[in-house]
Symmetry: C2
Subunit: 127 residues, 2 copies
């Protein structure tokens, strides 16, 4: 997905925020939550997990609420909640674009008659 530093979240990042929004928790707990919620579809290794937690703390999407020994508990900030909401919207837009495409809707800025690229005779990718 996105590569311009946190303009659009990756799937891993999205689920980390989702976990911490459910309830403040530590990294391991978040990772377990993600596996359960996605029924195993998404599984973060420690490297990805802690890289994301570190990054999110830097940019203020999450903050530490408790440190017991080595265990750090994180909560999502308002900024993080906004980023999560924006990501939901981005995903929805992708899907709604896909649906419009299935319907072969003409593009914006087309007058419905310009020799443009709508109503092609179906993809027909031979191979």
């Amino acid at each position: 997905m996105p590569k311009k530093a946190l303009d659009g979240l990756t799937e891993s990042m999205f689920y980390v925020l989702m976990a911490l929004m459910r309830q403040p928790m530590c990294g391991i707990e978040a990772s377990e939550f993600i596996q359960k919620r996605t029924e195993g579809r998404v599984a973060l290794g420690p490297a990805t997990l802690y890289t994301i937690l570190g990054k999110f703390q830097q940019v203020g999407y999450i903050r530490e609420t408790e440190v017991v020994g080595r265990k750090r508990t994180y909560a999502v900030t308002e900024l993080g909640q906004a980023a999560y909401a924006a990501e939901v919207e981005r995903l929805e837009r992708c899907l709604s674009d896909a649906r419009r495409e299935e319907r072969r809707e003409p593009l914006e800025g087309e007058d419905g008659d310009g020799a443009q690229m709508h109503l092609a005779p179906a993809p027909v990718p031979v191979l």
Copy 2:
């Protein structure tokens, strides 16, 4: 999004396939299509665009159907269509997970009474 080589498409990749499924076209046309369909939300530079086209050809998601001078026309293969469909499903899963989370649905494998992490007293991220 995804980083394990094409296991899950990036947003850019997704829209490139969407463009070529509408109708076989060249890189520039695909990039123009994407800008229109997303109303400017997604815009690929030439580097991203041709990197993706090259990669997709390598893995067999698209194939060249015509070469006129420098202009190369691409079409989506069945493999590419499958990848696109899988991506749509992935996006749908992300959103449905998000919706389940909004409803605070308990996780799979929880008996509704285990001292687990559901029904927390709402996130309350103070900052």
